[in-house]
């Protein structure tokens, strides 16, 4: 698609001297691809996508800078005062500064808790995607390149795992790991367990995609040529095969980020995820759910809204990315 703009670019560079032409080509290769590509065009055209991107970016920013925005550290029990428990949001009659969105039963500021919870949710989501992506890509490369019995085994496992919903697998892994370590796990290790459980639940799609593209590229002449000049197999795969599969992998990763965040939230909501001492958005919702009937709606409403907005934004981005990178699907 970017080839279509080449004649235009050539016209421009033709008039300038050789030095700037080289610079321009270098510059043009990067920025031109980025800004004149179909991807950016479709991005600019879709207002929904732009809003979704802005919301996602905002969530990441406030999560990263949470300590500077929050009025308290909700993970630090010393900062919580029971005197401040169950205060309604600021704009209601019973509101109290500085608790913008009210407080929960431990006197924890809901706004600060959401910021820190968002941090945990995004951390688990991103780490989970990185882990499942690395695992899936590695297994896909091995399956596609080695072939034979190894390929059969990996893909057989993938088939079987794909018939089970990821949440069930994550719950099981979570349960088993917990039973192995008993209840000795601290909050940080629980986060690790969640990343591990989510990673093991979502690797299949990457593996299938990468394997497919390896199978296509494997028999092409340049791979044989690379083998002939003595490049080792892993280098060939990483350098030549992976770039071709990058588009679909990016789409899967974006959609899986939303899925990973949902899975973490669900596990935490079910009481199998992050503990109350280091709550993620899902934990906050589970805590707040207990106060639904006593009238403290804000404890559950705001974390729920943030979670919904986050997932919706990432899903919209993923949808757009899929459509933009794969014109055939449109």
């Amino acid at each position: 698609m970017s080839d279509a703009i080449v004649p235009h670019k050539a016209d421009v560079t033709h008039q300038s001297d050789a030095g700037t032409r080289r610079a321009r080509l270098q510059y043009g290769r990067w920025l031109g691809r980025a800004f004149e590509s179909d991807l950016f065009y479709s991005f600019r055209r879709s207002r929904v996508t732009m809003i979704a991107a802005a919301v996602t970016a905002l969530f990441f920013l406030v999560a990263i800078f949470a300590p500077f925005i929050a009025v308290q550290n909700p993970f630090d029990p010393a900062q919580l005062e029971l005197m401040n428990s169950r205060i309604a949001p600021l704009w209601t009659a019973d509101g109290q500064a500085p608790f913008l969105l009210g407080t929960d039963e431990q006197g924890r500021d809901v706004f600060s808790a959401i910021l820190y919870g968002l941090r945990i949710s995004l951390a688990v989501g991103v780490l989970g995607v990185l882990f499942s992506g690395t695992l899936g890509i590695a297994l896909g490369l091995i399956a596609g390149y080695v072939g034979g019995a190894v390929d059969g085994l990996i893909m057989r496992i993938a088939d079987v795992q794909l018939t089970f919903p990821a949440i069930l697998i994550a719950l099981l892994i979570d349960g088993v790991v917990k039973s192995l370590f008993g209840n000795r796990l601290d909050a940080a290790s629980t986060l690790g367990v969640l990343v591990f459980a989510i990673g093991l639940s979502f690797w299949v799609q990457y593996a299938r995609t990468v394997r497919g593209s390896v199978m296509i590229e494997k028999n092409k002449d340049y791979v044989a040529a690379a083998q002939l000049i003595g490049l080792p197999a892993p280098v060939i795969m990483l350098r030549h095969v992976l770039p071709n599969a990058m588009g679909p992998i990016l789409v899967i990763a974006t959609i899986n980020l939303a899925l990973a965040i949902i899975t973490e939230a669900t596990l935490s909501f079910l009481g199998a995820g992050m503990p109350d001492t280091m709550p993620s958005l899902g934990t906050l919702i589970r805590i707040g759910n207990n106060y639904l009937f006593s009238g403290e709606w804000w404890i559950v409403a705001f974390p729920g809204f943030v979670l919904a907005a986050l997932i919706l934004s990432i899903n919209l981005l993923g949808d757009w990315l899929r459509d933009a990178l794969n014109p055939k699907l449109r």
């Binding site: 089970f164 099981l172 917990k178 039973s179 939303a258 669900t266 009481g271 919702i285 639904l292």
Partner: protein
């Protein structure tokens, strides 16, 4: 045909054996069963005794064979929390889960098809845009949030529906049904919607996509050129061609519905297998987790096997259509 069926059946058995091994490993190695059964002050000698009586000193293969043999007879051991045979617990809880899952599926099929057909036929109307927004939300929102939202609206604010439990149940043999009492039906509404919403959006999107594709085909154009009525074309010719993949996908999804019932049952404290499983995970009740894994796998594998065989019976060409990603 027979060879195909046999091969699929062999694969299904293979999967079940693999799941059995995982289930057994959990049962045997994740946490010491003896520790879970005895008090802290039990002496080492007594522990060894129990260990021997449970057959934990036998070779692993023997233990596995025994475990698998017992599982075949639905003997899954005793729950750590409840001190009851797991099989009894599952049997008691199963009707609740099945009733919920079936109601949710019916709801999803009926509304999913209606909404899908509508949004395919009236592509640019306001209602269609709303339906598509709902479908996006249905796919994006976590199940438990939808449940909480429904509870807040219909139980807390409006007070119309109960927020937890099954209501009154009637005992028919060993099956406890909530379908025969008013309170039981009322209690079923919100959990069914919560559980069915995801499938509903899935079916709606599938019906819409299939319908749009079918409406573009030559035989629909030819049907229009023959002057058939619009309703005959839409509901006779187009919908019938849409339904075959929809029904197969829905069938395949039934296993997922049962698995996703874990979340819905937790939100609504619905006394089914899923709630039992979540409590087992929270309390590290390995026998229940292992048995639940086996049961759900059996359901999944059976459904997959039946659908696989049905494909070839109905139309061999369908296999290609179904296996494409949604």
């Amino acid at each position: 045909m027979l060879a195909f069926t046999l091969r699929r059946a062999m694969q299904a058995v293979g999967v079940m054996i693999a799941v059995g091994i995982i289930s057994f490993s959990m049962f045997r190695f994740a946490g010491d069963p003896v520790n879970q059964m005895v008090a802290i002050d039990t002496s080492a000698a007594q522990r060894a005794e129990i260990r021997k009586s449970l057959g934990l000193d036998d070779p692993v293969v023997v233990q596995f064979a025994r475990y698998f043999g017992n599982a075949m007879q639905f003997k899954f051991g005793v729950s750590y929390q409840f001190r009851q045979p797991v099989a009894d617990l599952l049997k008691e809880r199963m009707p609740a889960t099945l009733e919920l899952a079936i109601c949710a599926t019916i709801l999803a099929i009926v509304f999913g098809i209606l909404m899908g057909v509508y949004s395919a036929l009236r592509r640019d109307t306001f209602v269609t845009k709303i339906l598509q927004a709902i479908s996006l939300i249905g796919i994006s929102l976590p199940t438990f949030l939808i449940g909480i939202l429904l509870i807040y609206l219909f139980a807390v604010v409006l007070g119309w529906l109960p927020s937890f439990g099954r209501g009154d149940v009637v005992q028919i043999g060993w099956w406890k049904t909530g379908l025969l009492t008013a309170s039981g039906l009322k209690a079923l509404i919100m959990p069914s919607i919560t559980l069915g919403l995801f499938q509903m959006t899935l079916i709606m999107r599938l019906v819409r996509a299939e319908m749009l594709e079918v409406l573009r085909t030559d035989y629909i154009r030819f049907a229009r050129a023959r002057g058939l009525t619009t309703s005959a074309i839409h509901f006779g010719h187009a919908l019938k061609n849409t339904l075959v993949p929809v029904i197969t996908v829905t069938g395949l999804q039934f296993g997922s519905v049962i698995a996703f019932a874990i979340i819905t049952e937790s939100v609504f404290q619905w006394p089914g297998m899923g709630l039992l499983f979540v409590q087992a995970v929270q309390n590290v009740d390995i026998p229940i987790m292992a048995a639940y894994l086996l049961m759900v796998s059996l359901i999944f594998v059976t459904i997959n096997l039946v659908v696989d065989i049905l494909y070839t019976v109905v139309d061999p060409r369908l296999r290609a259509t179904i296996s494409r990603p949604a």
